[in-house]
Symmetry: C2
Subunit: 163 residues, 2 copies
């Protein structure tokens, strides 16, 4: 091979994957599941089971396992409440995302809650986006700290975040 496979680093020790317990009727979903498994292996990220070992879930775990990655069968509490990545294969989640945006527009989901969902049509981009993800709360804290230093005023941070 001319180009050696360079191991990518990741800020994640593990990710929890939820997907279909069936494989679906179209090949693109199965291909994407395998791609995702390979991407996790390339980044040395462990896989945490969010579903069963059949269907798409089985394909992801098989890809991680056969690539030498670790597969963990339970969901640690510490994974809860983190950012959510949607692998939006061939626009599968477009309507769901539209619904979530509608709920934000109409005042039932707060914009900072919407922000935890990132999506991409392929595994590589999705994992990259998750790597680069900055929680809104942290972003607000950073901005406020900067603004406070600049202008010297005080903010009620909690009110700002929960607005």
């Amino acid at each position: 091979m001319e180009e050696a496979q360079v191991g990518k680093s990741s800020r994640f020790k593990r990710v929890c994957v939820f997907c279909g317990s069936s494989t679906g009727k179209r090949n693109c979903y199965q291909d994407a599941a395998v791609e995702l498994g390979k991407e996790l292996v390339a980044r040395k990220v462990d896989l945490v089971y969010g579903g069963g070992s059949i269907g798409l879930m089985g394909l992801v775990s098989e890809a991680v396992h056969s690539g030498g990655g670790h597969v963990i069968g339970i969901i640690p509490r510490t994974l809860m409440g983190k950012e959510v990545g949607l692998l939006n294969v061939d626009g599968y989640y477009n309507s769901l995302l539209a619904f979530i945006d509608k709920a934000v527009d109409d005042g039932f989901i707060k914009p900072f809650q919407r922000h935890i969902i990132v999506s991409s049509p392929n595994a590589k981009d999705l994992v990259q986006k998750l790597e680069e993800y900055v929680p809104v709360q942290d972003a607000v804290v950073a901005t406020l700290r900067w603004e406070k230093e600049q202008a010297g005023y005080n903010f009620c941070l909690q009110a700002d975040i929960s607005r």
Copy 2:
């Protein structure tokens, strides 16, 4: 009043309502929440809390309570796994329904699972639809029984239902 309010009967002793813990940004949602509460009172159906007592949830329970209906604060186990009614105010759930239909088309949700969701743009129609709801399993049993009587063959019911 020329037309006396005739008490409607219901096959439901109670329904569990989930809705926004905020009131949303548009009046139509608040109006619909109150309408739903009134419809439950008219049918003498008790309300089971699926959410908090604020926002739209608060409006529904207020309407039931002030109409003389019963409001129950917990979700009984027996309510789980029943049909689901979406009060699709001004098309709020259209994208979610489109997503669910996509999931059925692509083989991730079985058609009989999709069938448990009924929707309507107004409370009166929605409750009426729920009243008339026939579970697919029951419908399949009825059809199979009829077909068996007509043609004399045996079916593997479980396989048929889980197809």
